[in-house]
């Protein structure tokens, strides 16, 4: 498969004005500004192939949005290079802008006072979409996102989830080959999140579009991405399969046991007891991945066990660990 996105030693340093609190330093800052360098992104390197969906993870302020903005051409990097679809993004060539899209979950591109359908027409003109193709794409997006009931209402009357659907449609009318999604499900309820998720999956399947997305909801990531890239404090920490990350960062499993005797019994001889998520009365122990078999047979032999499960540690915990390393 061809490498659609190539990022090489990409770096961005912001100059940020800084002053201490208080009136005096405010006055001083008015005449003489002090600046501090913030290294938002430092020598990040990765490649993404056509048709991949890659999760781009990291805590707040890790440099995710900055990277996405550089890749979509909004920011000039202070170092390194990138090529997307053969273009250098920040040259902002028409051909590039025509072939990609950026969706930011916290910003609106649709006009507030008019129905989304009217904003779509503006996009049709701007992206030079021929009428037949426009009608076809809109019909397809309508099928996937169920736009008909909502796209004729003024955008200000829509719920957050409905608005996000329209935002996505507006961003995809020109059939971009590359999608940069910055927290596309932020603030949405579980159902709406799932809707957007399955839409992205289906869209990727139908069009073969390449997607790089950030999200703080692990469900988004586990549902959509086989591969993740983790950055922390501007540096690349991990690039690979999610399953691989679990092996590397958290090489242990969770054994959950439901005991016939309802009183809790001490499991410390078998492993490190941890709190379970679902309140079904199970107790969990964390054991090294290599010892699962032997410990399980010991548990079964020594305790009155009703039910037993072996699970991977929750992905949130694994990623949390990865951030901290």
């Amino acid at each position: 498969m061809s490498e659609l996105i190539q990022v090489n030693q990409l770096s961005k340093t912001y100059k940020v004005p800084e002053r201490e609190g208080g009136f005096r330093s405010a006055v001083r800052g008015f005449f003489k500004r002090k600046y501090r360098d913030v290294n938002a992104v430092q020598q990040v390197t990765f490649t993404i192939c056509q048709g991949e969906i890659v999760g781009f993870l990291g805590p707040n302020g890790a440099g995710k949005t900055t990277t996405l903005k550089m890749l979509s051409g909004l920011l000039h990097p202070t170092g390194g290079s990138a090529s997307v679809l053969g273009y250098t993004p920040w040259e902002r060539k028409r051909g590039y802008l025509q072939a990609m899209t950026l969706v930011m979950g916290q910003r609106n591109r649709l006009s507030w006072d008019i129905p989304a359908a009217d904003s779509f027409l503006l996009n049709q003109a701007i992206y030079r979409i021929p009428q037949a193709e426009y009608a076809r794409t809109l019909k397809e997006l309508d099928e996937l996102l169920d736009l008909s009931p909502i796209m004729r209402k003024p955008v200000r009357n829509l719920s957050l989830g409905e608005r996000m659907k329209c935002e996505l449609a507006a961003a995809l009318l020109h059939r971009p080959q590359v999608l940069f999604l910055d927290e596309p499900t932020i603030g949405l309820d579980i159902t709406a999140q799932a809707r957007i998720r399955s839409f992205l999956q289906e869209y990727n399947r139908r069009t073969g579009a390449t997607i790089l997305l950030t999200s703080h909801y692990m469900a988004d990531v586990t549902a959509l991405c086989e591969r993740i890239i983790i950055i922390h404090q501007g540096r690349l920490k991990y690039d690979g399969a999610i399953s691989e990350l679990t092996h590397r960062i958290a090489p242990f499993k969770l054994i959950g046991v439901a005991l016939g005797d309802p009183c809790p019994c001490d499991l410390t001889p078998y492993g490190k007891p941890v709190a379970g998520e679902n309140g079904d009365g199970k107790q969990f122990v964390q054991v090294p991945a290599g010892e699962v078999a032997s410990i399980t047979s010991r548990l079964l032999a020594e305790l009155p066990i009703h039910d037993l499960t072996i699970e991977d540690p929750p992905i949130e915990d694994v990623i949390e660990r990865a951030f901290q390393e």
């Binding site: 912001y14 949005t65 903005k69 979509s72 051409g73 909004l74 920011l75 000039h76 902002r92 028409r94 802008l97 025509q98 899209t101 950026l102 930011m104 916290q106 910003r107 609106n108 591109r109 006009s111 006072d113 008019i114 009217d118 904003s119 027409l121 503006l122 049709q124 003109a125 701007i126 992206y127 030079r128 003024p154 910055d182």
Partner: protein, 261 residues
């Protein structure tokens, strides 16, 4: 062709927005008519005491009022609303979306908002100019009319260029909401011919904020006071102003770093 199509789409959107607020539109047109009556009353008071103002008769003053209205229309229908939108978008970062579109960013910044009912001013202004020219007793040869129209265009272009520079300054200062206030403040000086003002003020309205270039100068052309060379000069200056302004805009775009997510 593409540009026209985008312009038409923007026009449609803005028309829909103004149709959504019908009462607002009607009240605005009424207010606008009231202001016109007020201004004409002012003129008639001046000319009940004198027949000439710095060499200009009442007909010419009415025509000047018409040109002044044209400039005012430019300000009220495009410059004000788009400045407001631009200033907001640069601070909350929504300018990002404008920059992502495969269209000239300056074009979109200029035309994304249009106060459509202001087109009504075009009718009023034309009426004032026609009536004024007739009252001033003719002398308006086709050539003079042509140069009048040409210079109205160059005047608008110079004000537009000045506006570009002022909003581009926001790229460097981020918060600079008064960027266009000075333009509006001096615009009022355009109501009267530049030569009624003392020299220092005349200098300001001609060179610093060249409002006179947009109002007085076209009228001078209509009165046949300008040489061919002067007309050419104004034309050149307005083109140069636009080229410089769009360079500054481009530099500003490079500077723009986007608000934090």
């Amino acid at each position: 062709m593409h540009t026209l199509r985008v312009l038409a789409a923007l026009f449609k959107i803005n028309l829909q927005m103004s149709l959504a607020y019908r009462a607002d539109t009607l009240v605005n047109i009424l207010l606008n008519l009231m202001w016109l009556g007020w201004e004409l009353l002012g003129l008639s008071i001046i000319f009940s005491n004198t027949t000439q103002l710095a060499g200009w008769g009442i007909g010419e003053m009415i025509a000047l009022m018409g040109v002044f209205r044209l400039v005012n229309m430019l300000m009220a229908s495009l410059i004000w609303p788009n400045t407001e939108k631009f200033n907001t978008s640069i601070r909350d970062g929504s300018l990002d979306y404008t920059l992502l579109l495969p269209v000239n960013s300056l074009f979109l910044t200029t035309f994304s908002r249009m106060v459509i009912w202001r087109a009504w001013d075009l009718v009023l202004a034309t009426a004032l100019i026609v009536v004024g020219v007739n009252m001033s007793g003719g002398g308006a040869t086709p050539l003079r009319l042509l140069s009048f129209m040409l210079l109205t265009g160059t005047g608008a272009m110079i004000i537009y260029s000045l506006w570009i520079v002022m909003i581009a300054a926001t790229f460097w200062f981020v918060k600079f909401d008064n960027n266009v206030t000075i333009l509006q403040a001096l615009l009022d000086a355009g109501r009267y011919p530049a030569n009624v003002y003392p020299v220092w003020l005349r200098m300001i309205v001609t060179f610093v904020v060249p409002i006179a270039v947009a109002t007085t100068v076209p009228l001078q052309a209509l009165r046949g006071e300008l040489t061919f060379l002067q007309i050419l000069l104004y034309l050149g200056v307005s083109l140069a102003a636009f080229v410089v302004a769009s360079r500054i805009w481009k530099a500003g775009m490079k500077k723009y770093s986007g608000a934090s997510s």
